[in-house]
Symmetry: C3
Subunit: 159 residues, 3 copies
């Protein structure tokens, strides 16, 4: 007999995470596009109270705050995955994350900022949440956001 | 009876778009590489009259001009896809776009620049042209180009 | 009768390349994640003598030096692929490379830096090493590294 894994929604409840409604795109694109077993999620910018969470690392925002912003982005990515799949239990694994950190030319902690998102995904999905990733500092982001993260996930055809 | 969709080449004609010849790489790489049903297109830099279209957003180029540059990149991407597939009607969908905008640390409209490419792809492919994407400002691009865009598309084995 | 291709390990020996041990991640992620026939390798930062190879192009490092750094990253990527696959001869092709170059706002040779990695991959894998790629200048990288490269490869289920 196989162990029945805990529902992702139960895990979210235990973590006191309430999924927001999925954000609409701010341009001529989709928040998620499927191809084969994969779904590609568009770059999601950090938001606070529904508005762009602005800030530049190395200038006016600390690594700790941006780490919370990255965690918030990961929750928004979950909301988009929920909208895309209809059931987060169909997520077979988080494959890849690209994390863009709005940074000055001397801020060298993009990886620490990004851990806020990576750790949340592992808390939610366990082993299946462990992913490849890349993290780096960019000159600027849409609407001045402090972090933007895009994601590739593998989806099972059956839950 | 199924509707026969309009040929992509008829659509291009109606939009007065003439495909340029596919650009060669400027280094030890390919302009497109297939894997399974996907084709990965290399980052294409913006060109004007066949030469790099230089400029930095927030300094010496407006969002409107860069939007035209992004549209021009999308047309070059079509040329590469045409060269890769032999028939653009085999493109099943545009999956993902990454758009790098050469920008100062205070330029926050990378998404508006990128719309120039995203909208062209939807004009050409309709629903199948809608894609996930990410857009951000980078410190600098090869040859000083104002925009660089890479793309993933899904290709049908039969037209 | 089919030609038996030379083992990748023989090629590495001829190139005097000794694979280092695969680097561990510096955060809550994996250095490689599989999905279908693909493996996604995390962004690997340049290292020298096992420590981050710091530098900023356009300020304190030349294109030639950074090209060597990019070549070193490609060797580290090979080490990760070796650890992931157990046998580099299973690599069917290098599909895609993204190369992030730590650069000032006026450094326009990210493509030349990246050639250091691209050329090494072609030396090692021949035709199968030719890939799509994108290269650009970023504001800053984790730990001040001069280059960070991520990679997608296609892996055969049988060697």
């Amino acid at each position: 007999m196989k162990d029945i894994p805990m529902s992702i929604y139960t895990t979210l409840q235990r973590l006191n995470i309430e999924l927001p409604s999925a954000a609409p795109p701010v341009g001529a694109y989709l928040m998620s596009a499927p191809s084969g077993a994969l779904v590609y999620l568009s770059g999601h910018i950090a938001k606070k109270d529904g508005r762009p969470w602005a800030g530049k690392l190395g200038a006016d925002m600390t690594t700790d705050t941006a780490r919370l912003a990255a965690r918030a982005v990961a929750i928004d990515l979950l909301a988009t995955m929920h909208a895309h799949t209809g059931d987060l239990n169909r997520v077979r694994r988080i494959v890849k994350l690209s994390s863009l950190v709005n940074a000055t030319p001397d801020f060298t902690e993009a990886h620490l900022v990004t851990n806020g998102a990576s750790e949340l995904l592992v808390e939610v999905f366990g082993e299946a949440g462990k992913h490849a990733r890349c993290a780096f500092g960019v000159a600027q982001l849409p609407l001045g956001a402090c972090v933007e993260i895009e994601l590739i996930a593998e989806i099972a055809s059956q839950p």
